[in-house]
Amino acid sequence: MTESSERRVVSVIVVNEASVLSRITNLFSGRGYNITSLTVAPIPDSKYSRLTIVTAGSVRVIEQITKQLHKLIPVLRVYEHTDMVEKEMALVKFPVTENLTDIDSLCHAYNGKIVDSSENVIIAMVADEPHRVDNFLSVIKRYNPKEIVRSGAVALER
């Protein structure tokens, strides 16, 4: 019974209507499945929205999740990604007293830059594969980040 649990990325195309998001998240919570991250935004020029859900589970669990998602009336399509481009954004707030050159260089290495500055803090942005964002966030610990926000992953099948 101990099937290996792996990270999975699922995209769901849904009708953009009231309570559709809770239908999706209810399905996960009601069955004890965890959501690692979830992003949602309308698809331009359509009545649909696209969700990208990062979750973890065995092949069997993911198959059930996919089928159960599909069973929801407002769900048009469900993709379980294997070959995809995946990106995630992170914003980090640093004290302005930290080494801004170092931070700026690091951001560049992760497709980012310093996007805002004020009297006391700067805000840096990176956009990269989720595991690279993990990496970035562990590297910048030494610069005393005050606040970190991640967007959750978005993905497109190749």
Partner: protein, 565 residues
Amino acid sequence: MQISGAQMVIEAFIAEGVDTVFGYPGGAIMNVYDEIYKQDGFKHILNRHEQASVHAAEGYAKASGKVGVAMITSGPGFTNAVTGLADAYMDSVPMVVVSGQVPMSLIGTDGFQEIDAIGISRPCTKHNYLVTDAADLPRILKEAFYIARSGRPGPVHVDIPKDVTAQIAEFNYDMDVNLETYKPHVKGNPRQIKKAMEAIAKAKRPLFYLGGGVINSGASKEVRELIQKTGIPAVETLMARGVLSYDDELLVGMLGMHGSYSSNMAMSETDLVIGLGARFDDRVTGKLSEFAKNADVIHVDIDPASISKLVNADYPIVGDLKNVVTDMLKQTDKIESENYESWRETINNFAELHPLTFHEDSERIKPQWVIKRVGELLGDSANISTDVGQHQMWAAQFYPFSRPNQWITSGGLGTMGFGFPAAIGVKAAAPEKTSINFTGDGSILMNVQELMTAVEKKIPVINIILNNNFLGMVRQWQTLFYDKRHSETDLSVQPDFVKLSEAFGGIGYRVKTKEEFDAALKDAVEKNVVAFIEVIVERFENVMPMVPSGGSLFNMMLLEKKETK
């Protein structure tokens, strides 16, 4: 035409061919009840509790194959109905439940009798709607009926705020339902069907495993024909009772926790499970890793999510059973009935070794006898509802079912209190049949107020209470698995069931002998009014065989052999 939201509900019901609505009025749904008062397109049955309204609608749907309809008010009216929604969802019962809601301006203010109804009904309905504009109501009601009855059927909940029922808007019901995101598979994949038929032709010990989906799909006739043509034996789940007639030689019996020895052994020995509209429920499979261990599995179901959910399907076929089985019937030429002769013999030997039976007692009536006796006296002329517990299992085991939609029970959710209101719905759907509800002394008290409904509307349901002064099934588990610690299951303190029925205007009988029972049943059928027949039965009778929870299907506790002189 320009009409109010409340009028739209009435017009939509009439357009859908609804002839009976079960419900209970209240503040938020009053506008609709005002329109019910004015119309004569359908009749309304006032239950005495909202849970009963929904169960009655379920009974109506299960007996007629049509969409059941219930109507309730907001807040407590709705929360009372939730058990019925969950019950219908688990058993795939087509149903539309309309509830009132506080006016839009009060939503989210903790208004009087406000509750987030669609938030609560979401996990126990196939779909639900909060109507925010009367202009959407015709489309929503049309979709609700369509979703309820199509694909894998289920309950749909429509929550309508009070001001929306008063709002005037254009009503046009003459439209096609076009849901881009909901298109159930009807036709099975021909290649998969062909492969499945080849697998059947090659199998040595194939077994049909029939579920409630056969009844939902209206495919009993086709399934009977397929079984007849192939000579392959069949087992039924609890929900599939009546798909095959009790006297069909190829019907092995019911399988599962309280299935017959021969059915459970057949399932354990088969080399090819042919699952039709069944969902491999834990009460059927027992320990999953041991279930039909050496068999390949063909699984036909309209719900892709049911396939390979618990047991891996080697031949998955998504489609409507009636359609798929009709296709299967065209490809039976390579299947030779004679090839299964020894397999059928093996199964017959199982049945002879441990037949489904019980021991008579000269002192007290055995509950199983009551079921058998009703079967002998009424047989096909009765529809059978039940509550939940020992009596339900005995009814499933011993009643001679002869047709689909004859058997109405709460299988998936196991709702005590289901039987009486369901039997009211059954009688409303099929007035020409006697409506029997087998119940227990525990279950009957969970919706006993329905005596009033049945008396008022002259719905002559006969409730046969198998009284063992116990919450019998729980008592059985306590006896077997909790060292006889009968915690809170002794129901020795009871009402006088005869007087109880009479207090509402029904009739009652208390019987202790077989002769008294025959006379009471005959009298109740003739009098044609709602009745309680309380039968004092053996207190400590257990439902056997029994597969202990989580055990392997072939490891059954069996009826103790009686000492022979």
